[in-house]
């Protein structure tokens, strides 16, 4: 077995489409951790995931998964990873039991008992056809399938989108359980930043094909801050410190990228802590500097 520090290592990854370029992407997903991959629609999250899974031809760069090259060791890697998408990739005429039979033919490490345990735990009927399942049940089934072949890495693309908070929490608990084994890792792309705030160890923020932020979630949340002030006070904040400014009827909210430095520099200012959602919102509008 290959020894590795990072479950995923991406170096200088580039992919150009007509009208969109994924430009020089670099980030790592440390072994034993969960990384949130955030960005608005069309930012390049799915393209990056497809490149990681070798479902898309890259133009340049290097991707290592579990210490192996994602192209030359593709099949070895794919026997040790699991991908979960927002839509169930199984025909809705099948039932959970039949899916187990099919997947046991695909994965050499398939564990029928683990799969059945997950089905019991999620109270998913083995004989009911998938077409009768709710969206939440379908997602649970996909996760049961993903975690039943001893996958070392779980790659999820918008998998929790459209699920109600109860199901989402149940699924997040499963992920935390999965991460109890320090050899397991998760890359989770999602719009729902509150979920990532709950469980992610690190976060990578992509926008218009470029990585804007990548690092430990706590460091990112700690370093950013939100100054709430009157519109007339905005002029005192240096533009180099500002990510962007949101104007409203009552004043202004300024996102700064170095909260500690700003606390020293602007001693009279109140700088609130911020959330991943706000960070994403202010970074997306960074080109405008001021927005409403």
């Amino acid at each position: 077995m290959v020894d590795f520090e990072n479950a995923i290592e991406i170096k200088s990854l580039t992919k150009a489409y007509d009208g969109f370029t994924l430009n020089n992407i670099n980030f790592n997903v440390p072994k034993g951790s969960i990384m949130g991959f955030i960005g608005q629609n069309g930012a390049g999250k799915t393209t990056t995931i497809k490149l990681i899974l070798n479902l898309l031809k890259r133009d340049s760069g290097e991707i290592k998964i579990l210490g192996m090259d994602n192209i030359s060791d593709e099949y070895e890697i794919k026997s040790q990873i699991a991908a979960v998408f927002d839509e169930l990739p199984f025909h809705d005429d099948l039932n959970a039991k039949q899916i187990g039979i099919i997947l046991s033919d695909i994965f050499a490490n398939w564990n029928k008992d683990t799969y059945n345990d997950f089905l019991d735990r999620f109270t998913l009927s083995q004989k009911k056809k998938i077409r009768a399942f709710s969206k939440g049940m379908k997602m649970k089934l996909q996760i049961a399938a993903a975690l039943s072949h001893k996958a070392r890495l779980l790659i999820m693309d918008e998998a929790t989108t459209g699920l109600d908070p109860v199901v989402r929490n149940e699924i997040l608990d499963i992920f935390l359980e999965y991460l109890q084994d320090e050899n397991n890792s998760i890359l989770m792309s999602s719009h729902i930043t509150t979920d990532l705030e709950k469980i992610a160890d690190s976060v990578t923020f992509i926008d218009k094909g470029k990585i804007l932020l990548s690092g430990y979630k706590d460091d990112i949340l700690e370093s950013h801050g939100l100054i709430k002030c009157r519109k007339s006070d905005c002029q005192y904040i240096e533009s180099d410190d500002i990510v962007s400014t949101r104007m409203n009827d009552f004043g202004a909210e300024i996102m700064v990228h170095d909260r500690r430095k700003c606390l020293e520099k602007y001693s009279g200012a109140v700088i609130d802590s911020t959330t991943l959602e706000e960070i994403m919102l202010f970074y997306v509008r960074r080109d405008k500097k001021e927005w409403f």
Binding site: L55, K57, E76, F85, P89, D93, L94, D105, F107, I155
Partner: protein
């Protein structure tokens, strides 16, 4: 490969069952007609000078059950199209399953269904022989084997086109184009034969001897035709099944 083959047949089960029912229905009609010709009402009618049994229609009817089962078993009831629609093939790209394995499953399932069609046709032919008093002959086996050969060629092309086009309409258009391309020279050949013949019954006197001639040429070549068509379509399907987008 057991689980994946199970998937192919389970998803296509309604289509296969319908095809089988259709085969049984046409087979029953054909057997009863033949039975009636020997010892039923049709035998009495055919003795009557007013009513004559059309020999050409009887020949077609006799072979119709075999054609029904072979033609319907050639396709997969839309399983491959639904593999694209349900994102199954995209999912396969995230698993250790190679393109070769995906296509091998499709071809294996098809060969199994066509061999099944062959066995059913064989059983029908034997029963028909028992009714009509014609013992099962090598000529009957030859006929079935040639139909089987055509079915293998057609279904190999069908799998290849389904993988390439991903869409039912696009596959239909291409198949129609292929048939049109084959139809024109066939018709030219038949019309030439008819023009050069003085026979009154064109079907029995011209078409059937020509079919016999073609059968005699095709039969020894059948194993080669099957091998080449499966090998070419198999290789092309693997090439067409690009798990990787550009």
């Amino acid at each position: 490969m057991k689980g994946l083959l199970f998937r192919e047949f389970y998803l296509g089960r309604k289509y296969y069952m319908m095809s089988l029912l259709m085969f049984l229905l046409v087979m029953t009609i054909s057997l009863l007609t033949n039975l009636s010709l020997i010892c039923g009402n049709l035998s009495r009618l055919s003795e009557d000078s007013i009513f004559q049994v059309n020999e050409n229609a009887l020949t077609i009817m006799t072979i119709l059950p075999c054609l029904v089962i072979f033609i319907s078993f050639c396709t997969d009831g839309g399983v491959t199209f639904s593999d694209y629609n349900t994102h199954w093939l995209k999912y396969c790209g995230t698993t250790p399953m190679s393109e070769k394995k995906i296509i091998t499953v499709k071809f294996t399932a098809k060969i199994i269904s066509l061999v099944t069609a062959f066995i059913f046709s064989l059983i029908y032919t034997v029963i028909l022989g028992a009714i009509t008093g014609d013992r099962f002959s090598f000529s009957a086996f030859k006929n079935l084997f040639i139909i089987f050969t055509f079915a293998v060629v057609f279904s190999s092309i069908f799998i290849m086109l389904s993988i390439d086009c991903k869409d039912k309409n696009a596959v239909t258009k291409r198949l129609v184009a292929i048939f049109a391309a084959l139809y024109v020279p066939t018709m030219i050949y038949v019309i030439t034969l008819m023009n050069n013949s003085a026979e009154e019954d064109i079907f029995q006197g011209v078409v059937m001897p020509a079919v016999d001639k073609i059968k005699n040429i095709l039969f020894p070549l059948s194993p080669v035709i099957i091998t080449v068509s499966v090998a070419v379509c198999y290789a092309m399907s693997i090439r067409f099944l690009k798990r990787r987008e550009n």
